[in-house]
Symmetry: C2
Subunit: 389 residues, 2 copies
Amino acid sequence: MLDFIYNTPTKVFFGKDTHKQVGKIIADYGYKKIMMQYGKGSIKKSGLYDEIMQSLNEYKITVVEKGGVEPNPKLSFVRDAVKIAKEEEIELILAVGGGSTLDSCKATALGAKYDGDVWDFNIGKAVAKDALPVACILTHSAAGSEMSNSAVLTNSEINMKKGISTEFNRCKFAIMNPELTYTVSKYQTACGIVDMMTHTMERYFTACPETDITDRIAEGLLKSIMENAKIVMENPTDYNARANLMWASSLAHNGLTGCGRENFLAVHQLEHAVSGIYDQVAHGAGLAVIYPEWGKYVCKYAPARFAQFARRVMDVVESDDLTAGLLGMQELREFFNSIGMPKTLAEFGIEKDNSDKLALSCTLNKSRTIKNYIPLGYQECKEIFEMCY
Amino acid sequence: MLDFIYNTPTKVFFGKDTHKQVGKIIADYGYKKIMMQYGKGSIKKSGLYDEIMQSLNEYKITVVEKGGVEPNPKLSFVRDAVKIAKEEEIELILAVGGGSTLDSCKATALGAKYDGDVWDFNIGKAVAKDALPVACILTHSAAGSEMSNSAVLTNSEINMKKGISTEFNRCKFAIMNPELTYTVSKYQTACGIVDMMTHTMERYFTACPETDITDRIAEGLLKSIMENAKIVMENPTDYNARANLMWASSLAHNGLTGCGRENFLAVHQLEHAVSGIYDQVAHGAGLAVIYPEWGKYVCKYAPARFAQFARRVMDVVESDDLTAGLLGMQELREFFNSIGMPKTLAEFGIEKDNSDKLALSCTLNKSRTIKNYIPLGYQECKEIFEMCY
């Protein structure tokens, strides 16, 4: 087991109607003036906005609103939010939404306590030394940003998407009411399911032996996610299934599933090349196509590990490790397909002869390799992409 | 799934030699003067004391020492420590030890920020509103106090042991080096293993359906604890096995295994009656005797739950739920026995005709029942104790 630091300071308020407590919770922390960010206004149509405002008004919290966060949160939006946060002397940034809104708020919180340009953090020009506190009311189970230390921002001027990980990115508190996810579409729900499974598997499929407890937790999460996914696909308003998925999304990415292990994030890097070039690819859907093929490609370099996954998570009965491992990846492929995820890049309209372009992109024109069971250079990446058809 | 609040603010520094970082960690938090509590001096014999002091001195941390914490920490000791903490204007209380030292420090931290007598908190005369920060260097995997919100104190004047749960009891940070547990005896190691398993099972065996994710995590923890227990019994200096157990002890009691579930703690109450009257009974050993018998007694009121445990944790293959459930408890009994735990109360020298006395004690002379699948009153408790022979 590798040494690790575990830090999950986010206080979670989980359950029905918890979003109606937001005013009291914020008042209990002693904050009086907040900035509230949200997306394109679906929270106004659903009535969520009114319920939140009623609670905030009841506790006399002054709210500066900044709606309009886009799915891949933009630097320009954040720069504007930072300016307002400074001028208005905001004390807390509240996200109402999913991963994008959260990441926008995290970036705003960092920028509000920094004299330079907030993009400096993303490009490594500055190291975060302070930030405003961030909190959220979560409306989508997927990214795990509500308890994670990371945030991703897109600089449209130079077409660059860059993440920043810092302990300042941990939310002060997170309000999670599974009922708020009832209206998430089947497709987006499925994308979220793939995302949380992948957050777990990217830590699981690394080269650290003898982290039995972390393995068992990861395996339990994956089994639970798959079981509850099936229920939610049939009945989107099943409270317990939505609740299990919401809590899983947080635990998958708050550090718990990585304790004592490495974190490769190789498939995320492969997928970023795809969705970075092809706008039509949702992150989760891209991961669903690539993950099992990546697994089949590298399985022979860690057959025991893939076999453990196959047997414990996918209930594969097969004594040969390599065969079991490959069967496990096939089962994973079939599960993703069963919740409506695509099987191939062709389904996004991406032609096979683009594998070269994708491999160049994720190796930055052959200038780097991706850390994995074997280093994934241009040739390896190209071969994996070619398998995704 | 029930609503819940999840709050685990303790920052964990886990791994080899982490205790040597204690000076830097405390300095990074900005504390300059601390009180350090420890037990009867084994840390001096082992050399741990010197290594800690060297690190604290290096970072110019002023240390007020208070050694001599007893296994069931005493109110009189804590009162004295509180007095010193106030006089010396201590900024942080550092525990070096296991659950008892931690609980002593937690009580001291509460008392140091309170004008009245610290026992007021335990008897409900006062509610904690502030406390000094507490931290620890853990030397035993068992009680889970390093991340829990609870602490137990014994008032010898009136022979009363009382716990207090408050979020102020959460450690600021916990330093966990599994190597520090190498010297824990086989018997104490086994008692710790029973304790952490019981913390998990007391949350698992409750009446909340459809908390699949919490179930899976609990089941994974239990399987992992049992596997690593076997390794440690053979080889007490197996780092990975000690590490898995140490991390399990924290996760078993920090709230994770109870998310969305009730917490009965029924068997703890039965056991407290035993170790409260009979000094020779170690808490873990008492739990090991009672838990499987309690399970066999109540199994018929929740056969599906006991069957799930039997099949998923104990690998029992049996289609009838009640039969499976009972087999699961039998397997649990055999596991406890395999790590050297007693099977009967008779092994402690407690005669069977004391079941009446024990049942009276844990029902406070028939004035209360213990919440469980069925209320456990005097008669039920007596029958369970009679099974423990």
